[in-house]
């Protein structure tokens, strides 16, 4: 129960370290008969890849995925699918005294306390690089859900630091390096990032992600509710400190007469719930937001201790995203797809086939 597997029926087991020979995952439980190729997966990996703009780490690595098993003549067979990504750019010269000290806000310290040993090369197992296999597995889930039910998963950045990013349209998202759903704000975001780099500091972000075309009835009360499993997956992503479903923390100040989404024969009149009631999907869009903390590896000097417990000062040079949130959007999409995929299979086990949504009316404007 060492925690490297996500999902109960569509199970993704992740392995690898940032600067080891390879990273990857094994997917067990994929239904047979899905047409699948490395190109399907590569497309999603490329969205997450470092080096795609000047605002993300310049580690230059193709992240080329290889499918080692589970396919026959281009189709899944029901056997486990192993996805392998070789590490090719394993520079580790820049780490300096990080081998012996702990970066404030970084897993350095807690890993060392847990295991008595840690792989310091590029963060080892705690590196954000380990989200690549999650994205690869998510691509498989996305494809199956799209083909079988027409589902779609769309994420975007809704805030960069203190700057809220008003939602203008889905069409803007792929056209800027921030996954911002708003073209006019991009120049401001770029200036914000450039200033951060000059300051040797970092910043947080807020990412939103929705699922469209979700069948009603997904989620297993009492404990493994759909929203509970979404929260587990999202909070399990590096640097995430908060998760909201639907109106999230704004629900605190709402009255029941405002929050409860009214139903009509044509569908719901609003979506404060974010597509989940009692832990079970309603057929409306799933609506999720996550808070991502600022990167802990920064050039600004910080107080710390070394492994012997003596005072120390830490500065991190080398290649680090000043905002890890920038690359989080495709990962959040993948995580949501993996949770939904798992719950579709769980639902089929107990209740038989799933029921497609009946005329859901999504909220007018995504948050």
């Amino acid at each position: 129960m060492s925690g490297s597997t996500l999902g109960e029926l569509f199970r993704v087991t992740n392995f690898g370290e940032s600067h080891g020979p390879a990273i990857g995952c094994v997917i067990d439980g994929c239904p047979p008969g899905l047409a699948l190729s490395e190109a399907d997966i590569q497309a999603e990996l490329d969205r997450r890849r470092p080096g795609t703009s000047r605002h993300v780490t310049q580690r230059n690595e193709p992240d080329a995925v290889e499918i080692l098993s589970g396919l026959y003549e281009g189709q899944t067979t029901g056997a486990p699918i192993c996805l392998l990504i070789r590490n090719t750019d394993q520079r580790s010269k820049d780490y300096g005294n990080l081998l012996d000290t702990f970066r404030p806000g970084h897993a350095d310290y807690s890993y060392w306390r847990k295991y008595g040993v840690r792989d310091p090369r590029g963060g080892g197992r705690s590196s954000a690089r380990l989200t690549a296999p999650t994205v690869a597995a998510g691509a498989v889930a996305k494809k199956w859900l799209q083909q079988k039910y027409g589902m779609r998963f769309i994420g975007w950045m809704s805030a960069l630091g203190a700057t809220d990013i008003p939602f203008e349209g889905f069409e803007h998202i792929p056209n800027n390096p921030f996954f911002a759903p708003n073209a006019s704000i991009v120049a401001q975001l770029e200036e914000q990032m450039d200033q951060l780099r000059r300051d040797g500091d970092s910043i947080g972000a807020r990412i939103s992600v929705i699922a469209q075309g979700v069948p009603a009835g997904l989620g297993e009360p009492l404990y493994d509710r759909l929203d509970a499993d979404i929260a587990h997956a999202m909070m399990g992503l590096n640097a995430v400190k908060g998760v909201e479903i639907g109106d999230g923390f704004a629900s605190v100040a709402q009255r029941g007469s405002e929050h409860g989404d009214e139903l009509t024969p044509e569908g719901f009149l609003s979506n404060h719930a974010g597509g989940v009631l009692g832990g079970v999907s309603t057929g409306q869009d799933l609506v999720v937001s996550i808070a991502i903390k600022p990167t802990s590896s920064i050039r600004t000097p910080r107080a710390s201790i070394d492994r012997a417990g003596n005072p120390s000062t830490v500065q991190t040079f080398g290649r680090h995203d000043p905002c890890v949130g920038i690359r989080a959007t495709p990962i959040a999409e993948a995580l949501l797809a993996l949770v939904v995929m798992d719950h579709v299979l769980r639902h089929r086990a107990q209740c038989g086939d799933v029921v497609l949504p009946i005329a859901p009316i999504p909220a007018a404007a995504p948050r």
Copy 2:
């Protein structure tokens, strides 16, 4: 995988319905040798019980727990512990057309879509009453963790609707029906509740909960991080729409030089992280906040549909908390204790015994 079990090694399997013969749970995996009695559990159940003030549901039920197994001469034996609570007050006369229509914001609709059948008596399986077995199991975890490591779990209400509740001191929490850590605000909260009842409406709340004395090293990266499992447990609680660890969504606007908690030989200088780095506990206090939506059962008439899909209007009379958040505090404590307990056992399995915190310095003021 029907989702009624919480935890991997300290496993709590929940059963029952609001108006069935009984509710309860089975705990599997409790270490042997813990002195345990029904009184230990009853004390926690009484904190959650309805009927304790005029601000919570007037269902009058003793919620008396019976330990059916797993004890010999007052000590746990390592065998499963079955905790049973008989339902004694099962009035169901007040439900009116709820048998056939769906309350906006309520699991009525999604359960019906999932199972094709639902137990409408008092919400059946989706009732908040099913949190009682969770609290009972949490009492066992709390006692073991307290005895073995001196851990404590303390929750409080940090906001009632739009009213923030400033933290004054832990000593105030048990002395008012809101679990407010602040004596001077209680009159205002009572007035707010009275107005809600007059309006036939409901309101949300924000609950905070901390764990003190947590060993470093708990949590299983990559996916089953300590914070991920906390988020799963908390978001799996009825009416919760958001979960934060440490600074939560406030982290979005923070800079890395502010957020990353500096270390000194005497301990951490702050606790923005909420006691978790890279998904693994640091030895600082765990700090968690949850957003609870307003109760969906309200007297205000709302548009809905019936099972045939025809338009309908719903009003809920009967006994309902205008703020389900009021009774959520002991439940949130129990959930946090259950997650920590599970991770202590998971840690022991892979890494041997846990390491107590070394001179942690908690944040000056809880949020």
Copy 3:
């Protein structure tokens, strides 16, 4: 992971001790819509019940089951089903020095080494009485599988000690206290048992069980094969020391040209495989045999030690079956039904609905 749950998707969590207040189980994952009553379950419990003949323990207990949850208007709702059996006959006066010594062949010793504590009253958790909840859960699985696919589960005694019991016909099984498929041998078996009682000794037995009407395609290679999970369930039953599928150990001396079951358009020509190839069901009958060791609680004096490690002599008086195998037949049926049920749900999750057998031809004569 304390091991008291059987199954992955149709999960049975067992609790209780022989002389505690109650025993029972929680079934999580039962499909909704199954008509179920206490009478359905009681019928199976009564087949296993002590006191039904002079050859089994005279503990006189009705073993009345109560369904505490998971039903609404006589149908399963998809929620967990708690089945409770109160212990009513808890005599413990006969145990003498068993509190302090270890019966050779009994779990007394290993439990004490594991937990440092054990409940000695009637064997506590290790009592064969704990098979009653398994039988109760099996009754639910049997009913669903019978209604949905017409499956049947039939067990019988195929050997009592050194006496092989030739198979004559299924119709004999319910008409004698041994579940022997052979009327003419019953008098001999009764004489054998009477002699054992006079000797103060016990004997082993061999039980066979088949499943008819099994869909093809059940079982999850690589590790959770159908036969592997059958072996797990059967070897997990008290006193079982061996499990065979199909020809079992007789396969060792067979040639491939004899063992491999030939196929024709009308079905298989034989069933050496026992209905499983590569861990996946073929649509033929599942054929399973188990070896049950002699009861360890006997009147014959045996050498042992006490908890301080000093030499001791043990004799067990009180109520004990001289052949625990006599009551094992309904339990073996229940276990087989539970494993098949679990694999039907697992199959539905990954592959969609199951395929009923196409003209299977069972082996001419069951072993």
Copy 4:
């Protein structure tokens, strides 16, 4: 829950097909701090490797293992360990009409019924080649258990077809291609195999395996007993049709006064139980036997059908072991080690550290 993971806390997830790019596994849950190299694993793989004698398949493949993750400076870190074995000899020209027909006794048929698709190249996922990753994972478990507790796992062939192989001494096992614990019988076994090849037929075998130095207290009653999990692992191995613990089926004819192992202050006087009582280890040697059926791929023509259901005749040419049991010995050792490893971790979780055996006296002669 697609069944490709063995173990709960020391989890081995297996992937790959016989003629795909690679096979391998991911081990999650290995304790940190174990010195481990590819050479440790390769030594075990070489014992299982094809081509080592004229009596096993002549597929000529080095089976070179690569450790892709989980190590830092030659020690395990607690992170998942991915073990990869590239397939290098993927001839598939010999399969003829096997693409369309089903070999009697082979998983061809059941896989096709399950998934609607199968990878026919060399048996695909059902190939015995997939036991190599199991052996590799077992090597890791063996090393940890040996270093920490001095445990040893020793297997041998106890029967080849109808020929029983009397146990003479452990020292003979590594010195003949059959893993026979008896030098004088080897010539007879070789003649038997040569005759089989001339006949184009195959034969079964019986393998025995013991574990020495096992701590008392391993195993989780009620269902996940140590013997139950051993049975699951062993019956999950290709071609296994029966599993025995201790005296196994011989227990049926034994009396309680013979079977129950007496205790003295110096230890047990016998080991009929095979080291397990009530599902929990006693500290004696674990003693396991398995029945392996004859290979289903034989040159002798057999009746079958094709995928359209038409009659067909099947003969299998190409490289096939006439007795798959010959290479099963190292696999059975690995499986036993994996189960024991898993239960050591499970025990640590609930009960803390394990207790080494106190003066166990193993049975005079292994069966």
